[in-house]
């Protein structure tokens, strides 16, 4: 326990308090003031923001871009969805499932638990080779991972119902569950960030050669970050699945990957607070633009096939943010780490 820095944990706690407040307010507003369609959007937002936070736990602390986290989301969603669906539905659309899964009609904890287990195995299996690769190679490898998982889900008709996806996933989740999930994910990311492993991974990010020369185990730290963020992703993803009734492989591919990475970039890769704020900005922007399009309302940002304004604008926004403020809004800064001098005009860094 001596290795844990009280100072860093305190900063994390302050940040958590601020972010938790935001989420709690949103949940309360959903329950009391919002109509059905707006509720859906806001609930989705909380889950998507949680997923961005999960990605941040790896990408932000390691400085390595991962395109593969949506693969964890996909696996978690499918496992949780399949676990929770009624056996009769499964017999109809996913006839090749193993018997135990076919008969299973899990409640929320079991479905989420199974999803976490599946992702844990997958994350460990991929994490071992990935954490040994150098920075540019691993980015390409995570891209390969995304394609790999998407391709398998798309093709394995007997188990995943192929391109048509899962339908009839029970709604086991209410606003408070979503709130709880978001709080757990945010807390998890902040605790990891404050932990000795998170700190060491950040040291590796800043200067890999110096970190190794001073005794930090580079590959091991990257491995920990990979697995932690995968589990957080799985938690958010499985709850998302049990809130979504239906989903298809196309939702777990490039468009969503880019949308979430965009949120991270806008908010600031190095910051959990940034991840949440970035998610908020992009979500609001997307909703406004979607309203302009007069198009379909399917909630959140995971609307894959809509060509046009939303994607264009998001991409354009990314470019602008990157050129004007490459480190994003928060940079490496957390809310808990803000000091009075950060608000002085013309001074300070972020």
């Amino acid at each position: 326990m001596n290795s844990w820095s009280g100072r860093r944990l305190r900063e994390g706690a302050v940040t958590f308090a601020a972010l938790a407040l935001v989420f709690i307010v949103i949940a309360v507003v959903i329950e009391t003031a919002l109509g059905r369609s707006d509720s859906r959007i806001a609930t989705e937002f909380m889950l998507i923001a949680s997923m961005v936070v999960a990605i941040q736990a790896y990408v932000g602390n390691s400085g390595l871009i991962s395109f593969g986290h949506v693969a964890f989301y996909a696996i978690a969603a499918y496992v949780a969805g399949l676990a929770a669906m009624s056996p009769s539905d499964k017999e109809r659309i996913t006839p090749d499932l193993p018997a135990w899964l076919m008969q299973l009609e899990a409640g929320l904890p079991a479905a989420v638990g199974l999803a976490l287990l599946a992702v844990l195995i997958f994350a460990v299996f991929t994490g071992v080779p990935f954490s040994r690769m150098n920075a540019s190679v691993v980015s390409a490898a995570t891209l390969a991972l995304l394609v790999l998982v998407h391709s398998v889900i798309n093709l394995w008709n007997g188990v995943t119902h192929g391109p048509l996806g899962l339908v009839g996933v029970p709604d086991l989740v209410n606003t408070w569950v979503v709130l709880g999930t978001s709080l757990i994910v945010v807390a998890g990311a902040l605790i990891y960030r404050a932990s000795p492993w998170g700190l060491k991974l950040q040291a590796v990010r800043e200067n890999e050669v110096a970190a190794a020369a001073l005794g930090i185990p580079v590959a091991k730290m990257r491995f920990v970050g990979w697995v932690v963020s995968a589990l957080l992703m799985a938690l958010a993803g499985s709850v998302w699945a049990l809130n979504s009734l239906a989903f298809a492989p196309s939702m777990f591919y490039f468009t969503d990957t880019f949308a979430m990475l965009a949120m991270l970039v806008v908010g600031g890769l190095g910051s959990v607070s940034g991840a949440v704020v970035g998610a908020a900005i992009i979500t609001v922007l997307s909703e406004l633009l979607r309203g302009l399009e007069g198009g379909l309302d399917v909630g959140g940002v995971s609307v894959p096939e809509l060509p046009g304004i939303v994607q264009l604008a998001t991409a354009g926004l990314i470019l602008i943010v990157l050129i004007a403020r490459p480190r994003g809004l928060f940079g490496n800064q957390e809310i808990g780490g803000l000091r009075p001098r950060h608000f002085a005009l013309g001074r300070g860094r972020s």
Binding site: N2, S5, G6, R8, Q202, E206, A213, L214
Partner: protein
Amino acid sequence: MSVEQRTGLVVAGVTKTFAGLTALDDVTLRVEQGEILGLMGPNGSGKSTLVNVISGILAPTAGSVSVDGQDVTGKSAYNVAHAGISRSFQTVRLFGALSVSDNVAAVVRRPRRAVDRTVVELLERLRIGHLADERADGLAYGLQRRVEIARALATNPRYLLLDEPAAGLNDSESADLEQIIRAAADDFGCGVLIIDHDITLITRLCHRLHVLSNGRTLAEGSPDLVRTHPDVVRAYLGERAVAELASSDLTTSQEGSSGDGSEPVR
């Protein structure tokens, strides 16, 4: 050099070639715990390469490196670090976006007390405690150098390698640095290998000197070498100084190399 010696950082016959270029040629030296050895030589003489080989960033083409009896030849920087070696770098390699205390906390291993306390005490000792929350890459150069040393000391090393720690420092900063390094050897008990061009600093600080030229050992012995050894004087001050030296009453190279049992010049 006796094979049985158990203590000390021992570099034996290290050679390093890069695609035909010989950067180090059969270099042998030794640092005891609590001792400060100055590594000198003109630019390109192989000093940084030697430090990189010792710290595991480069593997030697021939020869061996051992730490208190443990062979670390060719092992990775991580393994060398865990054998008890720590270092600073010629160009400052801090964890830029992290605070000064985080820079230090990141490398502390198995602290016996709360890491925060360990960090604060170390920073106080190097008189940078007031900078604890500052971002490392926002500091003035001299202070960054001090943070690097604090960080290197945080791993509780047996041997500390400092690659031009005084480069770019003004006189008062250099004097501070001298104190810090001496304290590292005396209070922390580290063996220190220091590369620097500041002759005044080196001669005041070091117990012994080892001079390289073109990857080979030129001379080894007391800090007087820079004033008395013709080859060393030639390398640093030119031919005229050598001529002046030869015509003076001062001792010749003989005393410089036999006086304290160091290696004969090659």
